[in-house]
């Protein structure tokens, strides 16, 4: 058995947006799956304030259920916890509106574009009003334009909801654009190498701005230092 993670000591404050970056195989996804309760850590503990009900998760794939409409997909978490159908409908409509899917409630997942499917997945993750949102390379499979749009919208959503976000990505600019802290994970076994603060004001639309580029370089240098 290989050790995916070792000595990951990380505290994320309430309402904070933390991005975890690192090369493939550094255990980013494992970390997130442990936080999500999908994996038991072999050693160590994870303290998640609010319990599993307070956690929403977005995966790299939208993972929508093809036999449900967009509405039923978004409302799935509420159905599992026994909320009645009228309340589910209303809440799903709200969430669809929030993520920019208003009017697509009746659509089948296969009728949506990749970006819209990921929006639906985001709505599903947010519908129980999570205190913590876990995102595992959610925009990794999207084209660059859609990705820029989604990043901007996610920043707005985060500002509005105040949820804590742990965001795994392999794109440094994406991490810098969204997060207040960027955690660099190094592989075999996965450890926290560096934590870089991002002291930039929101919104960070202009990624060519010198201050932005400085932070990107800082993370990139740390990544290279970790490799050598």
């Amino acid at each position: 058995m290989t050790t995916a993670l070792e000595g990951v000591d990380l505290t994320v404050a309430a309402g904070e947006f933390v991005a975890v970056v690192g090369r493939s195989g550094c255990g980013k996804s494992t970390l997130l799956r442990i936080l999500a309760g999908l994996l038991e850590p072999t050693r160590g503990t994870v303290d998640v304030t609010g319990g599993s009900d307070g956690v929403g998760m977005v995966f790299q794939e939208p993972n929508l259920f093809p036999w449900y409409s967009v509405r039923d997909n978004v409302a799935l978490p509420l159905r599992l916890s026994g909320v009645d159908s009228a309340a589910r409908r209303a809440r799903a409509a709200e969430l669809c509106h929030d993520v920019g899917l208003a009017g697509f409630e009746e659509a089948a997942p296969h009728e949506l574009s990749g970006g819209m499917r990921q929006r639906a997945a985001l709505a599903r993750a947010l519908i129980r009003d999570p205190t913590i949102l876990l995102m595992d390379e959610p925009f990794g499979a999207l084209d660059a334009l859609t990705r820029d749009e989604m990043v901007a919208d996610l920043a707005d959503l985060h500002a509005a909801s105040g949820a804590t976000v742990v965001f795994v990505t392999h794109s440094i600019p994406e991490a810098v654009q969204l997060a207040e802290r960027v955690v660099l994970l190094t592989p075999r076994p996965g450890r926290v190498h560096t934590v870089v603060d991002v002291p930039l004001p929101h919104p960070r639309r202009d990624t060519t701005e010198p201050g932005f580029q400085d932070v990107v370089r800082q993370v990139r240098d740390a990544l290279e230092a970790a490799d050598s």
Partner: protein, 251 residues
């Protein structure tokens, strides 16, 4: 709609078959071998006007549906078990292969011996033929659950029952119904072969009696009726599939 080409293809097929048949009978093929279409049509009319025929249709249809029903239930149970428990599938594989390759029709004399000349032996044969396509499809269906979908429900803390209802059953449903579509055709074959080889009831028996009395038009008419019965039953199962799994587009 698949539309145009399919309709044209069907019409061309009918025209070619009817044309070839008409030419052959006009060219002097013995009516014992190939009766003129007209006499088959009138034999068919006689056949469907007789209430006795509908009794025979009922017998055959009952055998098919009963055999299919047994195969469906058994196939789903066995398929889910084999799909979920890998060790069980490995242990059962030799038996499954053996079951697949033995000519089940050769077992008819045994079934007649065990279950008599009545409908039971036909139901057993129909169920036996229909069992494998359902089992194999259910097995594949249960295995095709996407890990990502399981993660979604796992993260949401879904119970076992919620997993089954929201994920396993909808995932397996298209395969179950695809298997059912193949199985209903096999069940028809099983019932009719059973009637050919032993017994005194059913449309298969009507065909054999007509053949033995050299009444070729009646034989053809009974075969046409059998074909219609098979098409109807298949249509019902295919319709159920479209109704129950509309999200599954690879029809």
């Amino acid at each position: 709609m698949r539309g145009g080409p399919a309709v044209v293809g069907a019409l061309v097929t009918i025209v070619v078959v009817v044309g070839a048949w008409t030419v052959a009978t006009a060219a002097g093929v013995s009516p014992l071998v190939l009766p003129p279409l007209g006499s088959v049509a009138s034999a068919f009319a006689t056949l469907v006007r007789s209430p006795v025929t509908w009794g025979q249709v009922g017998v055959t249809a009952t055998e098919i549906v009963a055999g299919f029903g047994i195969a469906l239930v058994a196939g789903i149970v066995v398929g889910v078990a084999l799909g979920r428990l890998r060790w069980l599938e490995q242990a059962a594989r030799p038996a499954l292969v053996a079951f697949q390759v033995i000519p089940k029709v050769a077992l008819v004399p045994i079934f007649v011996l065990w279950f008599g000349f009545g409908p039971t032996s036909k139901i057993v044969l129909a169920a036996l033929l229909a069992f494998l396509p359902i089992t194999m499809n259910v097995l594949l269906g249960v295995r095709s659950v996407e890990p990502g979908h399981r993660d979604v429900l796992g993260q949401l803390g879904a119970s076992r029952w919620q997993m089954l209802r929201s994920l396993d059953l909808p995932t397996a449903a298209p395969s179950v119904l695809t298997g059912a579509e193949t199985a209903i055709v096999f069940a028809v074959i099983g019932a009719v072969i059973g009637e050919f080889l032993g017994g005194s009831q059913g449309l298969g028996h009507v065909v054999v009696v007509a053949m033995n009395s050299l009444d070729t038009p009646r034989m053809f008419a009974a075969i046409v009726l059998l074909a219609l019965l098979g098409i109807t039953l298949h249509g019902l199962v295919a319709g159920a599939r479209r109704l129950l799994v509309p999200w599954h587009t690879s029809a």
